[in-house]
Symmetry: C2
Subunit: 337 residues, 2 copies
């Protein structure tokens, strides 16, 4: 029985009790607390809670042992916003400007020149290769500890142009509740994102309660060195692993070593993770977040450059996966609201 | 105060109580249970317990928050035995013999011919490249699920030549206690091994209580494919990552994302992991297991082909790391004894 149904029944019961005041009302935490208060009642919320209550029920044929309760979440556009540009890319552009003093050659060299002159046209023309050059120039050379410090400093000193909030506050309240709800039922929650793993590790534990070893992401290579007697790892300007599209199931197998039973994403980059999850032997739930809220967040899907959801939306509908309609299913977007 | 000291004091206290029988003896689980019963009393056991009690003490200057309590353990020769040959290599040789019927060409092709004819000389001559060929031929082509099944089947049907026990029973009882002791104090325990990650994932959760996502090891590449409508990952005959020597700190950074505060190993292949752990900002403990017990297990170090401990032993002594003397410090080796 979904918790909300229990809650309604409990409401009737409490009302009955109120008529006979000599009997104390029986209340337990389970019946009073809605674990997903930012989710509106409806098919989506019910589907999630019914799935969870089913797989944790030892008497259900869909019961899954705690060790098998693996849930994987995409990050950009799924746990936090990703508009008008992936926040990690905004970080990289900000870093180029900050480091430009040490790199006079960037004044005349693309794609750096485009960044320094705020020339979006030239930046777009530099394409994926240009973006990669920017990332390497700003993400490599230092230790992971030093890199994470620059990310944390950036989060403290910048804010989102539309909401005037630090980027790490642009996280979705309903997803925080879902993560917590799953963990309360012995799910192990992982991030599986195309974003940089060290970029995320700098802040996701505080934001989502997900520790560094439960973050799977794209990475650059590193080397082990001993410098002045101190052993450390140094980041190299070379791609190690791209955790996107087919890379997601590969990353899940590599880092987690178990097929998820719940996968949550929002773009075509998550489709293979969904397919991989759906193809497991036991029960599974695939959640696609559809950005439908142009007023409180953003509305985009098939034609978007960022977080494009096209093939994934078709496949979700065809296969009966759960599509979260942000405008309809969520009564709150951000914790600061 | 180490638990054992507490225990002794409690003994005195209980003896005093015995003199005045009207007062009930105060006993708590903490004071009665020795968490490391297979470890003999002495400097090694005290050093371990003092370290743990120090870092979990909120009033200590060495206090470490639970999130930072990362402990990494090598596997071969550290959590289970590795003589007369790495057990995974024995598995590979057994698999070659099992699969030989489907590969008539192996009868005349090295290093397979050497395996099929039990020709150790020729096998040794094939060197590292030959071993790699054997591993690829027996570890790739299938899904991780199928591969793990072959490992589990092998564990059920084979036994160690000297002890006549399944290989997954050749684990060290004192290390099981240490893992459990650390976890009881909110340490997160990881395997960081040169062994194959999928080979270990097949059995380590049951053996050590370490889940698949807390196993860091060497790996081969995989690809994502959809076969007959079913999404899966397939293992490819190509090396992805070698988690040994300098690869260990790199693997720790990649998979765990945090520097350990306790590292445990037994060979020169663990030295860089020890150096990396020792170079952390806070407290740290480096444990080197020295195989000194030719009667109950094996005795080997500087000249061994398997699990060679030479430079590591020197550095441990020079830097005051804790060297576990198996013969002296352990009163039990295997759980089946």
């Amino acid at each position: 029985m979904p918790k909300l149904l229990k809650l309604s029944l409990m409401g009737v019961f409490l009302w009955m009790c109120a008529c006979s005041p000599e009997k104390p009302a029986i209340t337990t935490e389970e019946t009073i607390v809605d674990p997903l208060p930012s989710w509106n009642q409806g098919a989506t919320k019910s589907a999630i809670m019914e799935f969870v209550e089913d797989v944790i029920d030892p008497n259900s044929s869909n019961y899954v042992e705690p060790a098998g309760r693996i849930a994987t979440f995409d990050n950009d556009g799924n746990l936090w916003s990703e508009q008008p540009l992936y926040f990690q890319l905004i970080f990289a552009l900000d870093r180029v400007k900050e480091l430009a003093g040490d790199h006079p050659e960037w004044q005349e060299k693309q794609p750096f020149k485009a960044v320094l002159e705020d020339d979006k046209q030239a930046l777009l023309q530099s394409g994926e290769h240009g973006i990669l050059e920017l990332v390497m120039a700003t993400h490599a050379g230092m230790t992971p500890e030093e890199f994470q410090q620059t990310v944390q400093d950036w989060l403290k000193t910048t804010s989102h142009p539309r909401f005037d909030q630090p980027y790490n506050k642009m996280i979705y309240q309903p997803m925080l509740e879902l993560l917590e709800y799953l963990r309360a039922h012995d799910f192990k929650t992982f991030i599986v994102s195309g974003g940089g793993v060290e970029f995320m590790r700098a802040w996701v534990e505080e934001a989502y309660g997900i520790p560094p070893d439960q973050v799977v992401g794209s990475s650059i290579k590193t080397e082990f060195v001993v410098e002045e007697g101190k052993a450390l790892v140094r980041r190299l300007p070379e791609i190690d692993f791209i955790d996107d599209k087919a890379g997601k199931p590969i990353g899940i197998n590599k880092f987690i070593g178990r097929r998820p039973i719940l996968a949550s994403g929002n773009s075509d980059g998550d489709l293979q993770m969904m397919q991989y999850t759906a193809a497991g032997d036991g029960p599974s739930m695939m959640l696609y977040l559809h950005h439908t809220d142009s007023v409180r967040e953003w509305a985009y899907d098939r034609d978007s450059h960022i977080g494009r959801l096209d093939q994934g939306l078709d496949e979700a509908k065809e296969k009966g996966w759960t599509v979260i309609d942000m405008a309809k299913d969520w009564n709150t977007i951000y914790p600061f609201q």
